[in-house]
């Protein structure tokens, strides 16, 4: 069973994607299912680490929080760009020690940090578990440290570890 359907969620998402891109009909469902099964076999051949989601409810909450934060930082960065050089602004690098080690958790953190205007992920040191960030408006390092550690990493640790 798991040989034939190695990634059930991936298969379901691929079928939904195929139906959204084409149309809802029996023929498209068959074609979409075949494509999804072949793609899942290809994915299994890569042997990636299987994600172990522990808390679905928290994942939804995290998505909500991130959408809100992205909207807020959109406004903040827009304001800074439109103000030009009138306001004193300091941007800079900062290093954040992370407790999160799960590769998929780190991937999601990277997507969150990169999608949020104002923060950019520049590097992750596997040996020391530290993350190198560039922050656009680095007024107070503690605020950003608190945001990454207590807001995002807290949820990702709960979800994956």
């Amino acid at each position: 069973m798991s040989q034939l359907f190695p990634y059930p969620l991936l298969i379901i998402f691929l079928i939904i994607m195929w139906l959204l891109l084409t149309s809802f009909s029996l023929g498209q469902i068959i074609v979409g299912t075949v494509i999804a099964l072949v793609a899942a076999q290809g994915m299994a051949a890569l042997q990636p680490a299987k994600p172990r989601l522990k808390r679905w409810d928290l994942l939804l909450k995290l998505i909500g929080i991130v959408l809100y934060d992205i909207a807020r930082s959109n406004i903040a960065v827009t304001r800074i760009i439109l103000q030009g050089n009138k306001r004193k602004r300091k941007s800079g690098f900062m290093t954040i020690p992370l407790n999160l080690r799960d590769p998929i958790g780190l991937t999601i953190l990277a997507v969150i940090i990169t999608s949020t205007p104002g923060t950019a992920w520049l590097g992750y040191n596997f040996a020391q578990g530290t993350l190198l960030l560039h922050v656009f408006d680095l007024v107070d390092e503690a605020v950003w440290l608190d945001l990454i550690k207590n807001r995002y990493e807290y949820f990702l640790l709960e979800i994956f570890e």
Binding site: M17, L20, L21, I70, A71, N74, V77, T78, I81, L82, G84, S91, F93, T95, A110, V111, T114, S115, T116, P117, G118, T119, A120, W121, L122, G123, N125, F126, A127, Q128, L132, H134, F136
Partner: protein, 140 residues
């Protein structure tokens, strides 16, 4: 309902508002890319266009075509998902390339390279000596 003339006015305001927000954010992001001075500042500006810039235009499109075709239209969500998943790849590639260049030029404004000690630690982590012993049976 297949004609634009039948489109309800209050809905049109919604669609127009989302389009203007999305297009405006993308424009401001591009302007920031042009105006800002340092490379690391500049990589922040286009994320306006890839976050809510895209999201607002996608929402406007979903509302417009859902009303016009009298059925829910969702395939724009795929655009949003793909943009969100793929942009970090480009941004991290650009950021890391710039960091690598600045470090090799010994630019004092960027943080220094990781110490050699950390690379040794990394090798140690990859080795996992305990599990190797157990597998070869020398410990048992």
């Amino acid at each position: 309902m297949n004609h634009v003339a039948d489109f309800p006015l209050w809905m049109a305001w919604f669609v127009a508002a989302f389009l203007i927000i999305g297009a405006g954010l993308t424009l401001i992001g591009s302007f920031g890319l042009y105006r800002l001075r340092s490379f690391y500042d500049r990589i922040h500006a286009p994320t306006l266009g890839t976050s809510w810039g895209t999201a607002a235009i996608v929402l406007a499109s979903i509302i417009y075509f859902s009303v016009l075709q009298s059925r829910p239209v969702f395939h724009e969500i795929l655009i949003g998902i793909f943009v969100t998943i793929t942009t970090p790849v480009t941004f991290m590639l650009l950021g890391r390339a710039a960091l690598y260049r600045d470090r090799s030029e010994k630019n004092p404004e960027v943080p220094a390279m990781d110490s050699p000690k950390s690379i040794l630690d990394e090798l140690k982590l990859m080795d996992k000596p305990e599990s190797v012993y157990l597998e070869s049976g020398e410990r048992e």
